[in-house]
């Protein structure tokens, strides 16, 4: 375990502790407790600029806690340390014709731990679910420095209370994730992506899409600017990924052609979409509602981005989620756009730090959530404030 001065922090008081084992994470948490210090938990650091109101000068990095612990391809499960990057997992599993069906927006240099801790999802969530559906088991270090595990290394497991779901999306406030077991998928013989133009009004297009004989792995609606930037077309476009044997894929291509002009595009388009996010946008957020309301969600999302240069707007149709990334926008303009209440649920990914409290009120201030926090991190030592909690 090494301690170095915080490279990115202006407040020189902060140090970064690098842990390379569960025992070192435990030691770092216990040391922090002994000092009365609080910790910001960091993986590859891709979330550091999200503006989240974390009150911690010292950081604990699990980036060095990396590597595959156990991988038996026939089991279609993999166990890896939390600091393992998604691209490393992609490489290891691809050798066996398998993949981890988690494709959060952003870089594949991001870590597994951060993906699970933030509950990040991407287009594949439409068919394979979010991290809560993919993580089978985990090990973590609680805020009071105990090593705890939940779940198992098998694909079905209901023994005991579900610590896995609880830790997933908890932003590290219940425990520092150290090791994860995930469900993998075998690659189908054919896996193809099509750009389908959405010429009709979305409200008419969606029912036709839902009635079509397609079973997509992912369907992501792109605004014209995003579609153009990815080189797939110039107007509103649905990027549809289908898989199976060649007969099944060919039939689905035909079915898609009923919905608009269809063009096969590279599967790399998905990675390009994930990387499309500007490095440090002013704001990124998701709007959502039940699936039948996705056209309303899309309208709100496009309105939110109107006249913002290079805004990225895309929607995971089958989950009723639209995502908006605003690269450069003044805080005043952002407030004007986000202040009016809407019927849609809103999840903020990135905001200016000064607006976080007002625009993203804490979702863990209820008594039960506070008791759950206290059960795992009684002193609120891990990522205090990251969920907007007082």
């Amino acid at each position: 375990m090494t301690q170095v001065a915080h490279p990115a922090s202006a407040s020189a008081a902060g140090t970064v502790t690098h842990a390379a084992s569960s025992a070192q994470v435990q030691e770092a948490v216990r040391d922090a407790a002994a000092r009365g210090d609080v910790l910001r938990v960091v993986g590859a650091g891709t979330w550091l600029h999200a503006g989240r109101p974390v009150r911690a000068a010292s950081s604990l990095s699990v980036r060095a806690l990396a590597g595959v612990v156990e991988y038996v391809p026939g089991d279609l499960t993999i166990t890896a340390w939390a600091g393992t990057t998604l691209e490393d997992l992609d490489r290891v599993t691809a050798e066996h014709g398998q993949w981890l069906a988690l494709d959060p927006f952003g870089l594949r240099e991001g870590t597994l731990g951060a993906t699970v801790a933030t509950g990040s999802l991407g287009p594949l969530a439409a068919s394979f679910g979010t991290p809560r559906d993919v993580v089978l088991g985990l090990q973590c270090v609680t805020g009071d420095g105990e090593i705890v595990h939940g779940g198992a290394r098998v694909v079905k497991h209901v023994a005991g209370y579900d610590l896995v779901r609880l830790m997933t999306g908890a932003w590290g406030t219940l425990g520092v994730l150290t090791m994860l077991t995930l469900r993998l998928r075998a690659r189908a013989p054919v896996d193809a992506t099509y750009a389908v133009s959405v010429a009709a009004p979305l409200r008419e297009w969606i029912p036709a899409y839902r009635a079509a004989s397609v079973a997509p792995l992912a369907t992501e609606l792109l605004n014209g600017a995003t579609a153009a930037a990815l080189g797939v077309s110039n107007g509103t476009t649905a990027l549809v990924r289908v898989s199976g044997n060649d007969e099944a894929v060919a039939a689905q291509e035909k079915a898609l052609a009923q919905l608009g002009s269809v063009r096969p595009v590279s599967n790399d388009t998905w990675a390009a979409l994930a990387r499309r996010d500007p490095a440090r946008p002013t704001a990124a957020l998701r709007l959502s509602h039940r699936a039948a309301r996705v056209a309303d969600v899309w309208e709100l999302a496009t309105a939110l981005a109107r006249d913002v240069p290079d805004a990225v707007v895309h929607a995971t149709l089958d989950r009723g989620i639209a995502r908006v990334v605003l690269p450069r926008i003044s805080e005043a303009d952002l407030m004007t756009r986000l202040r009016p209440p809407t019927e849609c649920a809103r999840v903020c990914e990135v905001l200016p730090a000064s607006l976080w409290q007002e625009l993203a009120p804490s979702a863990v201030s209820d008594p039960l959530s506070q008791r759950v926090r206290a059960a795992f991190d009684p002193e609120r030592r891990l990522n205090p404030g990251i969920l907007g909690e007082a």
């Binding site: 679910g129 595990h149 779901r165 039960l368």
Partner: protein
């Protein structure tokens, strides 16, 4: 409060006829689907509305009286047994509150029977995917409590993956909501914690579940093997080929013979060592190509033959044998111990061999019928529970089977839960620190330990357990210690 006074007050909430206290009336609630345990509740109360459920729980919370929520009582872990505490029966709450085909969601009361939800959704071309074998009787509330599975969970996922929101009354009487049907909800995944908490975290008042489009085409295959090993190899190879069957079930010789000599006879080959029941579904295009591929995989693994159902009637018959296998075993002996464990898929051949050896050593007959695609085993032992020597041998064999599953990296339950029956195995798969943390999580939901006391986590694992929280709670937990 005296028990007579409690009975009166409960009666004033739900109506006197919905409170039962006479021994003869309580007899039917002494067991669930697992033989071997008999626990009698002090009272049974049957609220008929959501408000009555809330009022009952609030009364019990106020009086610090422990309780056990119960659905249809089909559980297989003793989880719904109430040992001298109040039993809250939820089977009067059977309304489907809302069905939204456009968003593929349904809101149901906890007492809605699993299969009846699918029947109601059928007109919209939808169904509720988790399909435990007891689906004709078990309730959605019970499914949520146990995070129930079923054959088709291989492709479609278990209960957890299909529940999007729950309104619940916590054991302290607070009404709260978990999850959301209307978009993403931030904060801790308390819904995920609630699903599968075996009735320890509160009582569901309504459940919003995802409905799944009915597949456009279905093919059901029966592959016939002369060794379990070959059937296990075919299982692994099918999934590794990138084909995700809707279901992939294995039945061994003991199960095949039990089914074929019962009224559920499905035409399984009675001289086979194992059969695989494989279902492929999805779009019509390309489905028969996948069928050909699976047939080839089975043949490469050594299948003697593979039969594809040629009509819906044949398909239903093949499934009937599988779904009613437990019932068919009922003909063999008075009692049936239905076991549940999960092993890594690649360990199936090893574990099946271990199970056969253990059965032989203890002189018991094991019938295996299980979700091979998930590695989720159900080794079942028919026996006569009135014979103490048989009972002892069955329990000894079951313990060894569980240990064999744990030894290869498996776990002790994939879909039936811990309940009372598997408390003793918890320290074998979780460290003391992990168990203690589970106790603390339980205390966050239920500080007075009133809901389903003595289940899931052995009480002695809770470090700060003082041994006496309330008279009723300690009565219930005595069973676990």
């Amino acid at each position: 409060m005296s028990s007579a006074a409690l009975e009166r007050q409960l009666g004033s909430i739900v109506g006197a006829r919905y409170v039962r206290s006479r021994a003869a009336e309580l007899l039917v609630y002494e067991s669930d689907g697992l033989p071997g345990y008999r626990k009698r509740p002090s009272l049974a109360v049957f609220p008929g509305t959501r408000d009555e459920v809330v009022a009952v729980v609030q009364l019990l919370a106020r009086e610090r009286v422990a309780f056990v929520p119960r659905g249809a009582g089909t559980g297989l872990s003793g989880g719904a047994l109430a040992d001298g505490v109040v039993l809250i029966g939820l089977n009067r709450l059977t309304r489907i509150i809302d069905l939204d085909p456009a968003s593929r969601l349904a809101v149901v009361e906890p007492g809605v029977v699993n299969a009846s939800l699918s029947r109601a959704a059928h007109v919209h071309g939808l169904h509720y995917a988790p399909d435990p074998s007891s689906q004709a009787a078990c309730t959605i509330g019970g499914n949520v409590a146990e995070n129930a599975g079923g054959p088709h969970c291989l492709k479609y996922g278990v209960t957890l993956n299909h529940v999007v929101a729950v309104n619940a009354v916590l054991p302290d009487g607070t009404v709260t909501s978990f999850g959301s049907a209307d978009g993403e909800r931030e904060g801790y995944d308390l819904l995920g914690a609630f699903v599968g908490s075996e009735g320890c975290f509160g009582v569901a008042l309504d459940v919003t579940v995802r409905l799944t489009p009915n597949p456009r085409a279905v093919r059901t295959l029966l592959a016939d093997f002369l060794s379990i090993d070959a059937a296990a190899r075919a299982t692994t190879a099918t999934i590794a080929a990138g084909i995700v069957p809707a279901a992939l079930e294995m039945m061994d010789a003991g199960t095949i013979r039990a089914v074929e000599s019962s009224i559920y006879a499905a035409g399984y080959p009675i001289d086979a060592a194992a059969v695989l029941l494989i279902e492929l579904d999805g779009l019509a295009a390309g489905l028969d190509r996948d069928v050909e591929r699976v047939v080839a995989i089975c043949e490469e693994a050594g299948a003697r033959g593979v039969r594809v159902a040629q009509s819906e009637a044949q398909r239903v018959k093949l499934w009937q044998g599988r779904k009613k296998a437990f019932g068919a075993m009922g003909r063999i002996a008075r009692h049936l111990f239905v076991q549940d464990a999960v092993v890594p898929r690649t360990q199936l051949p090893n574990v099946m061999a271990s199970i056969a050896a253990i059965a032989e050593r203890h002189g018991v007959r094991v019938c295996n019928v299980f979700h091979a695609g998930d590695g989720n085993l159900h080794p079942n032992i028919p026996y006569d529970g009135n014979d103490p020597s048989q009972r002892e041998r069955v329990h000894a064999a079951m313990r060894e089977i569980m240990q064999a599953c744990i030894a290869v990296g498996g776990t002790v339950t994939g879909e039936h839960g811990i309940g009372l029956d598997k408390l003793g195995y918890m320290p074998l798969i979780f460290s003391q620190d992990s168990l203690n943390r589970m106790c603390r999580l339980r205390d966050a939901f239920d500080p007075h330990r009133l809901a389903n006391p003595g289940k899931v986590v052995p009480v002695r694992s809770c470090r700060e357990w003082h041994g006496f929280v309330g008279r009723e709670a300690s009565l219930g937990s005595a069973a676990a210690s």
